[in-house]
Symmetry: C2
Subunit: 322 residues, 2 copies
């Protein structure tokens, strides 16, 4: 089995070698620009690991892995317009560097390019792979819409939040693993277990992200620590804090939500989180999803050492500091 | 063979019966809204006629026809954002009625829905159909980008213009016919002839549109007659006029391009077009593409009466007054 750095390198090389037509350059240059900003390539790595898990050939799954990375970057390109984000991985977003029109249209063609790449899976599994991909893509769009709707709502429940992150983040991890399994010729129930592993891992991963945004090491965390608190983002921590707090604590939390202070707000809200114990609650929730993921993995009928590789990778994703 | 009104009704019914999830409603309501604004359903009708031409069952091709109509409406939803258009078929555009973010994301999910519908073609032709669709979709995106680039350029050649309308408008007609043929089990060379019929018909259709924008009957033409002249749109007529005009005519035309007058500008530029004979040139170019289309149709190995139906439909598209 190939190591994770080897798989990341394989994907990095495939991204670097991807060629698009020279014209119209406003359509294709933004794709190469965004794709080459880097990132952990977590989704395509998981896809290739799933192929490996079922003793398939990762090289054969490479176009599908690239399809997932292109799709993921398409969602980033369009989400950044909607979120009015100036930066992506420390560089100007496509709509800032070019224009919103360019980012819309270039994103559209990326989605088609993802389908073009998926066409390269073995013909015998094409239909199955496309069905998983279609459902995944619809889920990601639904998740983004629900996330945008949350911004306008005063109250969101934990269940609603978990469903939103399942759609926005986790189904793509599930889809990646399922497609990797299908390319290796895994039967449907096995591919579904791979999906369940990925989906639960994805929810755990997002909960970890919420925790790191508050408690991450500022030296290692890529974004500004406390960014979610400053922007009143409805994360697991904030929703749980609002649910748990009573009396003065609730009053204080609600007041801080109205505040434009930056540093004081972050430290005060963090102190409230500590007092209410929401970090522990989030960690327990995260562990419970991680357990579900590992439980699905254990049920998979594959060599134990290959399963251990995936388990180890899952652990690195969940104990990360950034 | 079914009549065109029957086919239009079949599609209208399929559009009306299309059901999307209830939530998130900002994602799905705009799809139903835009799809039900109507239109001639020209592309799906052509697809079903191609299936009929090769003695296939139009009912079986209905999901693919609907896919093409969904795809076409996806391009309208996103193009309207880029063009900052307030109205579509006399009603508020999606980005005006909801927001740009809603129009971006709802459009994205429509593109995925188009693929989901295409999955319903017979498994034996799925790969072929998807390949045609992918190429078509990429072409349409390229055409839109080139069209936007034209707005910023001072000079565009007739060849560049024809290539732009081929991509932006014609490949989707070609793709529709080709997919309809493939669903009926037509061999590749026959499907390619159907494609050539559609592509050339599409170019002729767009040239006719350019002519009607200036010379159409204001009572029957849906848009404002002279709209292209007012906005200095680089149509076949304007490009040809700038190429042909000399001396005072060229000077006068260039001056009118700088003018903000509306009524006077339309009548003056139209008078210049008449003097230069660009309407006739555009009509000749249109006829030459229509001939290419009919020539491809004649080469198709299909019952003569069915070919005549398609020829008659092509004629109605090209002698229309609106």
């Amino acid at each position: 089995m190939r190591s994770i750095p080897e798989l990341q390198q394989l994907i990095g090389l495939a991204v670097a070698e991807q060629r698009f037509p020279a014209q119209p350059k406003e359509l294709y240059e933004p794709i190469s620009y965004l794709m080459q900003l880097g990132g952990k390539r977590m989704r395509p790595v998981l896809l290739l690991m799933a192929t490996d898990l079922f003793e398939g050939d990762p090289e054969q799954a490479l176009p599908a892995a690239l399809a997932i990375e292109v799709f993921h970057n398409f969602t980033l390109m369009h989400d950044d317009i909607m979120d009015n984000a100036p930066l992506r991985r420390g560089k100007a977003t496509v709509h800032e560097k070019w224009s919103s029109s360019v980012a819309i249209l270039s994103g559209d063609v990326m989605l088609v390019e993802a389908y073009k790449l998926l066409m390269k899976v073995p013909a015998s599994v094409l239909e199955k792979v496309l069905k998983v991909f279609n459902e995944t893509a619809v889920g990601v769009c639904e998740g983004q819409q629900i996330d945008m709707n949350f911004e306008k709502r005063s109250h969101v429940s934990i269940d609603e939040y978990l469903e939103m992150i399942r759609l926005k983040t986790a189904v793509l991890l599930g889809g990646s693993l399922s497609i990797g399994a299908l390319v290796a010729g895994a039967p449907n129930p096995q591919a579904q277990l791979a999906y369940a592993f990925g989906e639960n891992l994805g929810i755990a991963f997002q909960l970890q992200d919420d925790i790191l945004d508050v408690y991450g090491d500022p030296e290692k965390f890529g974004k500004q620590v406390g960014g979610d608190i400053i922007s009143n983002k409805k994360t697991y921590l904030l929703i749980k804090a609002l649910e748990t707090a009573k009396g003065d604590d609730l009053h204080s939390l609600e007041n801080w939500l109205l505040s434009n202070e930056v540093d004081l707000k972050v430290s005060a809200v963090t102190a409230l989180y500590d007092k209410l114990g929401v970090r522990t609650m989030a960690e327990q929730q995260m562990i419970s999803y991680a357990d579900k993921a590992l439980n699905a993995l254990q049920q998979i009928d594959a060599p134990q050492d290959r399963k251990q590789e995936l388990e180890a990778f899952a652990q690195t994703l969940l104990v990360r500091e950034c």
